[in-house]
Every structure is written in structure tokens, then in C-alpha cells.
Symmetry: C2
Subunit: 217 residues, 2 copies
């Protein structure tokens, strides 16, 4: 099994926190997304989606998609459980995984990729080129800020996002908040619950061991 | 437990096919999204996200998000298994769930909601209003068509999308293809594998029992 990573990018960071919380160490190849490593022939022959992270299994098949990789590894290494132990946990963890991604993470990606030269003609990751749509910058920031506000309200009186213990939903929401800062959407001073939760997670060993995220674009 | 549904909308259709394949019958309330039922006070008091489908649990908490609802019910009703029996199944089902949604379903929604009067000022579902971005119409259609092409290529020599039996990934991909037709993105005549798979699923009792989808917008 081999893991294709790029430790600065937000999707791999979700997997990397999952691996560290599980205590898993996997043979890893760094694909330099800033140098176009995902488009080199050797990698694309493995993963035609030209996306990182992905996991090459021992039979040569390649599993893409952050949450698919984590779920695959959760079955192989069930403890500590991060995706839920009963129906209620499974449901609310998935609900918050999805809210973090759809309402916060993807909008932050819209804001990042739809302006500037670096992603010119590359508004979406993957094998196909799409032009930037400048209106997605402001909309992406507004949506990410709305998610932070919702998350702050939700965290009042709560230690963790989905259930009464640390789970994958915390990882997904935390990386979303971290990623939003790259487009200068940050917790407000008065969002005390969001700040408390974010700082508490940042103090966990797995989070402290993560290389720093890139500065704002 | 009470299920809030709108049988014409694509997200509830994913849950409804899941329920029918499981043989589950749940107390159901229809929320008329075309009449703004999701914004009525009684429903919003239950679900501030103002989205359908959602599942009200016996303790009064409300579980939103299509895939969270299905995963909750899968734990309670494990057979027939639709989310995977081992790590490999779990991983590839989730990969295709996500590819169908991110590469096909959400782009089709972009194409549908970013033009015309019906979704004016309502480019995204949920509690907040966002203006339409006309460029997302053509981009949404192009992305949905690309997903159909990728799915057709993937289905060569395959009966099902993710593993060698019917799973949630088939439901998600099928509803995505169905939904794309509403924005006039349809399988090409030469996409024989996609057509074969789509027709085979449509002949299943659960799919035949589904009310017809709305015609193209």
C-alpha cells in the first residue's frame, strides 16, 4: 500500500490528521502539486483523476477521494474509532463531515482558485481545465464565513462537533477553518466557542505534528 | 422517527431509492419545496438548515444530509448491505458516491439553479440567499457531461459502479444521471455501457416504483 500526499494541500491534510490520530504510518510519496507533479505521466498512469491524495492498494488499484481513503483505513484499523460506533454517531458524524465540506471547504476552494495567476484556467482540481469565474471568489468567502458562524453557534456548550468525543467531523471542520484562513476568512473575535474548539484541537499531538499550512494567498 | 421528503427533488430521490432497496417504510411528511414549505416556521424550527430530506429522530434531534440519513439507517438495518462489507468495498463505494456527487450531481444543480426565474436569488439550497452566477450554467453542464463520459468508460465490462454488486454508489450515480437530464445533459447514443447500466437499474422494482422525475427545465 502506498499513499500519495502533498502535505501543504487541504485535502491531504484531512487524511494526514486521520493517520496521525490513528497512529498509522504508511509508505508515502509526496507529489508536488505546485510543480504540476499530479500531471506527470507516471502518476497519471496510476490515477487518471490527477488528484492527491490517493491510496494505491497492493493489487495496484487506486483509491481516490479523501473520505474514501479514511473510511477504507478505518475498516482496517478500527481503533480509535473516528466514524462512529452506532447509528446515531455514524449519522451525525457524516452530517458534519458533509456540512464542513459542502458549506465550508468547497466554498473556500472556490475563493482560492477563482482569482490570481496561480490557478488561471484551473478553477477546479482534476484532469480537465475550467476557466475561473470571478464571482465565485466573493460567494466562496461569504459561504465559508457563514459556515464558521454556524459552527460557532453549534459549538456553544459542546467540546466536539458531532458527538461527545473527538471524531472525523472534528478533523474535517478543523481543516475547513484552517483552509478558510488562506482566503482571509477567519473566526471573529466574538466567535469564542469556535476559537476555543479550534485551539483545543490544535493542541492535540496529531495536530501539533502537522506541517504549518501555507499563509493566506 | 419521521422522514421529511419531497419526492420530485433529486436529494430525496437518493434516500427514497435507498429506502425502497432496503424495504423500509418510515413515517413520512412531504414538504412541498416548490411552494416554499421548507421555509415554513414549523419545519424551520425542526431544521434550521431549511433543507429536505431530513430525518427527525425519536429524541427530537434532526439528522440532515442525504448520505448521513442513509448511513444512519444502514446501521439500524444492515441488510441488504449498500455501503460495503469490507475495507475495499467501503472505500470504492465511498469513492464513487463522492465522484457522482461532486463531479456530476452538484454541477447539475449549478446548471439548474443558476438560470431562470424559479431560482432567482436562490442559487443554492439552504437558509441563505445567494444570487445566480450565469457562468455556472455552462460550466455545470460541461462538468456533468464529463462525469457521464467518465462513468461510461468506467462501466465497460462492469455491471455495477463500485463493486461487483448493487450498492449505494449505483443509487448515487443513477440519480445523478437522471438529474443531469433535467438540464438536458443526457447519455450520448454511443455511450452504450452507461445506457445499459442505467436501463438495468431502472428495471429494478425499487426504481420502477419511484415517481417520475420532473421533465427538463
Amino acid at each position: 500500500m502506498r499513499y500519495y500526499d502533498f502535505a501543504l494541500a487541504p485535502n491531504p491534510r484531512r487524511v494526514n490528521l486521520f493517520l496521525a490520530e490513528k497512529g498509522l504510518v504508511i509508505d508515502t510519496v509526496e507529489i508536488n502539486l505546485r510543480g504540476g507533479g499530479q500531471f506527470e505521466a507516471d502518476f497519471r498512469a496510476r490515477n487518471p483523476q490527477a488528484m492527491v491524495p490517493c491510496l494505491e492498494l497492493d493489487d495496484g488499484s487506486v483509491l481516490g477521494e479523501t473520505m474514501a481513503i479514511c473510511r477504507y483505513l478505518e475498516v482496517q484499523h478500527p481503533e480509535p474509532n473516528l466514524f462512529g460506533r452506532d447509528a446515531r454517531e455514524v449519522g451525525f458524524i457524516e452530517m458534519w463531515n458533509r456540512r464542513a465540506e459542502i458549506e465550508g471547504f468547497l466554498p473556500a476552494a472556490d475563493a482560492l482558485r477563482n482569482e490570481g495567476e496561480r490557478f488561471h484556467g484551473r478553477a477546479l482540481a482534476g484532469p480537465r481545465d475550467y476557466p475561473q469565474i470571478p464571482q465565485l471568489v466573493a460567494r466562496g468567502k461569504a459561504r465559508a464565513a457563514a459556515f464558521l458562524a454556524d459552527l460557532d453557534a453549534h459549538l456553544a456548550g459542546r467540546e466536539y462537533v458531532a458527538v461527545e468525543r473527538f471524531t472525523m467531523a472534528d478533523i474535517n471542520a478543523w481543516v475547513t477553518v484552517e483552509f478558510a484562513a488562506r482566503v482571509r476568512v477567519e473566526p471573529h473575535a466574538e466567535q469564542a466557542d469556535l476559537r476555543r474548539w479550534y485551539a483545543a484541537l490544535a493542541a492535540r499531538p496529531a495536530f501539533k505534528a502537522l506541517p504549518p499550512a501555507p499563509p493566506p494567498a
